[in-house]
Amino acid sequence: MNEFELSIIGPAFLASLLVLSTHVPLGTEVLRRGIIFIDLAIAQVAGLGVIAADTMGWEAEGWLVQIAAVSAALIAAYVLHWTDKRWPDIQEALIGVCFVLAATAGILMLTENPHGGEHLKELLVGQVLWVNVDQLLPVAIVNALVLIAWFWMRDHLRGFGFYALFAFAVTASVQLVGIYLVFACLIIPAISTRHISRRSIRIICGYGVGIVGCLAGLILSVRGDLPAGAVIVWSLAMSALIFAWLVWPMIRHKDHSAETNIG
């Protein structure tokens, strides 16, 4: 790995780590609740917020864009929290409906305001290779707050709290790395570790799967000159398969034999 390759991978890898930091723990909860498409829905509504702000003539730059995006995401989080309480048995279906409504509302609003389309693209189609280090600091702060809230109060996050944390984490991440990679970071490590019953071990293994997958994807991207986001999604899936089929059975086996020896 030469200096140039490192300078390309460095910021992109830091961005992936930030996304993983919140999405691995949140992913386990999302999988448990069976609401896996919630990140697509929330991200899409966040984009809608930006178009709306632009349509209302607020020159959406910098912080205003972020405020519009997070506000819209929080409103969606509140609505989804409410439907979760009201109709828990059809929550996943309602999330799907929320996603298509937000996506198509975007199309309808864009006929009046095509420049919003540029903002929408910026918001939903982040490209991990084009991340600059100075973009990472605000996301790091948001994610640190989300993580503190998560680990402090996750057992009390029954209602709106979980959805609200989710709104912040997704809105921040999707702009860095794009919607595909956000979805992959949320769901893939969570699936591959679902048989691990101890929560702390599960989270640690999920981080491991995610970090290995992101690093492998970035190296493949540089060596093969491929779009990084798409390669990382595939390498994350590979990393998850290898973990679930090879690594974890071995660890568990050792664990068991150790226990029986002691016993």
């Binding site: 140039f4 290779l129 779009p227």
Partner: protein, 301 residues
């Protein structure tokens, strides 16, 4: 024998040296500027072209090689007028190469040297994905190529003054061939004058203005936004009594709208090369124009 070997070795080393150290590293955003660069600098430049004829220059996926190329470039040659606004600023920031940042001699913006058309009188957001700086697809008018070639040679002479005289003679040679070719095209194109065409997007406005083509409708009445039902109905109503000769589009544009129109009113679908590489025979600027005019001639009626 040993002497011959040594001379061969020296020659190889010499060649390697000219192809790496002394060559100017040029990053061209679109194939047409890569080709123009080839005409004007020849083997004095090592050219990387960021997009192909099958990629929309408005959009681009980040690949490591693009960042690498921008990082080592001495000169970037792009269209400007907001065409690459979605990705070039990000790429320049990520490349961290002072030579090619906006405002420096290593940053060449072709659209600054031509008279742009379709500059909106008022910027109204309801009009579509408009470019306040006018239509950026400037390269399909030979006068524009001529002006950009002059400006680009001046820029090459600024960046690489040691080869100034060579650049001048290459420019003179190119301009002579280009002006001869332009004369031929204009002669052939007399038969194209007034040819009625529909177009997917406003990608061919400069060519239409040059050749006197009549673009009677665009399938994206507001650029960048899919047409509504009412707009399509109006389009059919407008075109059915007097159908145009065909509907033109670039290789990278979605084929569905023009397929729809060509099926409804039974007109030809014409995929023009648009830039170098858009058809197998469009290998440089000259053959690009030849091919484009030939394809249009086939559909005169």
């Amino acid at each position: 024998m040993a002497g011959l070997m040594r001379r061969v070795a020296t020659l190889i080393v010499g060649l390697a040296a000219t192809s790496t150290s002394s060559a100017l590293d040029v990053f061209a955003c679109e194939p047409e500027w890569g080709s123009l660069m080839q005409e004007l600098a020849g083997d004095k430049a090592e050219i990387t072209v960021a997009t192909t004829a099958f990629q929309d220059p408005h959009r681009l996926q980040a690949r490591p090689s693009l960042i690498a190329a921008a990082r080592r470039a001495d000169l970037i040659v792009c269209t400007g007028a907001d065409l690459e606004v979605g990705w070039l600023p990000l790429l320049l920031r990520r490349a961290g190469n002072a030579k090619i940042q906006a405002g420096n001699p290593g940053n060449f913006v072709a659209a600054e040297y031509v008279r742009r058309i379709e500059i909106p009188a008022t910027i109204d957001r309801a009009q579509g994905d408009i470019h306040p700086q006018g239509n950026p697809h400037i390269h399909l008018n030979p006068r524009n190529i001529e002006r950009v070639a002059d400006a680009l040679t001046k820029r090459l002479q600024t960046i690489d003054p040691a080869n100034s005289a060579d650049y001048q003679s290459q420019l003179d040679d190119f301009q002579e061939r280009w002006s001869d070719a332009t004369g031929d095209w204009e002669e052939r194109a007399i038969s194209l004058e007034g040819m009625r065409l529909a177009s997917h997007h406003r990608s061919f406005s400069y060519m239409a203005a040059w050749l006197g083509l009549d673009i009677v409708a665009t399938l994206e009445p507001k650029p960048g936004i899919p047409a509504s039902g009412a707009q399509l109905a109006a389009l059919l109503e407008q075109l059915t009594p007097n159908p145009p000769a065909g509907v033109i589009r670039t290789p990278y544009e979605n084929e569905k709208p023009s397929q729809w129109l060509s099926a409804r009113i039974d007109i030809a679908e014409i995929v023009l090369p648009f830039t170098i590489g858009g058809t197998p025979d469009s290998v440089d600027l000259f053959s690009l124009y030849d091919e484009t005019i030939r394809m249009l001639e086939e559909h005169i009626r």
